[in-house]
Structure formats: structure tokens, C-alpha cells
């Protein structure tokens, strides 16, 4: 067993343990931090697969951006020491049974199927190759998905701002119209 094997199994173990802790921890803030550990270990696995750019994106966007967003929203909506409400035991048991059955089925299928690893030379996924493919519109180009994702991100940004904006004026108007109708009905 070489050193890289040991590192891989360390990453694998930490992914599985921290995923379990993420969905079972009663404290919401703690489960957010466990999710951070899961995402960082996933970035480590991408590094081991030699996809450095993807691992960097995973670290910055997931571990840096989404986790911070989630922690901020937890702090906005609940107390730090607040314990999460859990489902009734019966429902927990039945979902655990369903999940175990699904996982067993999938794992059996995976181990039955003979994957044939390709022997063709690997394409180097350095930033130069990634950038060239991402904006080229030839046969191996990804210019269209790139543009579609940029539009999606713009739409999501505008949507999030509009959704989370306070609607002070609207509520004031509503109460005013309510009062007006009450007054008119009284008179």
C-alpha cells in the first residue's frame, strides 16, 4: 500500500463519516461545518485524479462560497445553539430502510458491471487546455454551455436579490388599503 492509497482511503473515510454526521447532527451550525469537511475532502479526491482546476473551483465555489452562504443564513434564521427538529422515529426507520435498500441495489449493480478502464493517453487538464476548450466552438468546444451557465448565474443573481429584498413599501400599502376598506365598511 503506497502513500497515495493511504491518502485516498483517508479522504474516502472522512467523506463518508462527515456525510453521516452532516445529516444526523442535531445542531445546524455543526452540520454545516461537517458539510464543509465533506466538500474539502471531495476537492482532495479531485486533486488525486489530477483535475487541479476542478478541485480549485470546488474549493472556492463550494467550500468558500456556498458554505459561507449557508452559515450566514443559519445565523439569520436560528440561534446558534438551537437544536434541529427531527422526524418521528418511525419515519427515520423507514427512510433508513429505503436508503439501505437503494444503496445495496446500486452497489450490487456497480460490482456486477465490468467497467473497462481506457488505456488511451490522458489529456492533460491544465488551465491552458481547460480554458481553450471552454471557449472554443469547434467539435470539442464548450462555448454554448459556458454562455448558458453565465446567463443562468445572472438570472439567479437577479432572482435572489429580488426575492430577498425587503418589501417595506408593499406591506405599508397593504395595511393602508386594509385600513381604508375597514373605514369605508364602517362608514
Amino acid at each position: 500500500m503506497t502513500l497515495s492509497d493511504i491518502i485516498f482511503y483517508l479522504f474516502a473515510g472522512s467523506i463518508v463519516t462527515f456525510s453521516v454526521l452532516t445529516v444526523t447532527s442535531r445542531r445546524i451550525l455543526r452540520s454545516a461545518v461537517y458539510l464543509l469537511f465533506v466538500l474539502v475532502s471531495t476537492a482532495g479526491i479531485y486533486f488525486m485524479l489530477n483535475y487541479n482546476f476542478l478541485a480549485a473551483v470546488q474549493l472556492t465555489v463550494y467550500a468558500g462560497g456556498i458554505i459561507v452562504l449557508i452559515i450566514f443564513s443559519i445565523l439569520l434564521t436560528s440561534h446558534v445553539s438551537e437544536k434541529a427538529v427531527v422526524a418521528p422515529v418511525k419515519q427515520q426507520i423507514f427512510s433508513a430502510l429505503a436508503v439501505v435498500a437503494g444503496a445495496t441495489l446500486t452497489l450490487l449493480t456497480i460490482f456486477k458491471f465490468a467497467f473497462k478502464p481506457s488505456a488511451s493517453p490522458a489529456m492533460v487538464s491544465d488551465v491552458q487546455n481547460v480554458g481553450r476548450e471552454l471557449v472554443s466552438y469547434g467539435r470539442d468546444g464548450y462555448a454554448l454551455p459556458f454562455e448558458v451557465v453565465s446567463i443562468l448565474l445572472l438570472a439567479a443573481m437577479v432572482g435572489a436579490i429580488v426575492l430577498a429584498k425587503k418589501e417595506k413599501n408593499l406591506k405599508a400599502e397593504e395595511t393602508q388599503t386594509k385600513n381604508n376598506t375597514e373605514n369605508s365598511s364602517k362608514s
Partner: protein, 105 residues
């Protein structure tokens, strides 16, 4: 770097992560923790894409780019989802799914 590790090992990790995410989605009662379970599920699918690309089609980068795009979609989904959750909290003072029956009819 990964010569000794079989493809199945990666698939086992991502399968376990996916079903743990589904378990969390089914049993959690808080909107933010449900969103975190969805992030787990998306992340496990991402591992699958990347690993299949690396082992079965190493001469192109399709799974790599699919992973990148999934990360972008996950980020926008988290942003919009958290905006909705904060709006719900403002209106109902709670984000437990048990209390959110206003849209039921």
C-alpha cells in the same frame, strides 16, 4: 497517482454519499438542512462524472466540464434557495417544514 485504486472504490464513495444525502432529505425538518442534503447529492453526482471521465474516457474532458457546470448550477440553486428561505422566515418566523402549510388548499 491513482493507478492502484480501482474505479469501484470511487463509485462506492459517491453511492454512499448520494444515499446519505437522500436520508437527510427524508428525515430533516429544517429547510436549510434539507438544502445541505441536496448539496451532498449534487456533490456525489459530480464525483461520478469526474471519475468516469478520468477512468473510461481520459482523452477528453467532457465529465470535467459537466462537473464545472454542475458546480455553477449548485451555486445558483443555493443562492436562490437561501433567498426564498430568508423570505419565508421573514413571513412565518420559522423555517421548519411542519409549519409551512400556508400554500396548502
Amino acid at each position: 497517482m491513482i493507478d492502484n485504486i480501482p474505479l469501484n472504490a470511487f463509485l462506492v464513495i459517491s453511492t454512499l454519499m448520494f444515499f446519505i444525502g437522500i436520508y437527510g432529505f427524508l428525515t430533516r425538518r429544517n429547510l436549510i438542512t434539507m438544502l445541505m442534503s441536496i448539496e451532498l447529492i449534487l456533490n456525489s453526482v459530480n464525483i461520478n462524472f469526474v471519475v468516469f471521465n478520468r477512468f473510461l474516457y481520459p482523452n477528453q474532458l467532457q465529465g470535467h466540464f459537466f462537473g464545472l457546470i454542475v458546480i455553477a448550477v449548485a451555486a445558483s440553486e443555493a443562492a436562490v434557495g437561501i433567498a426564498i428561505i430568508i423570505n419565508i422566515y421573514r413571513n412565518f418566523k420559522s423555517i421548519d417544514v411542519e409549519n409551512l402549510d400556508q400554500m396548502k388548499f
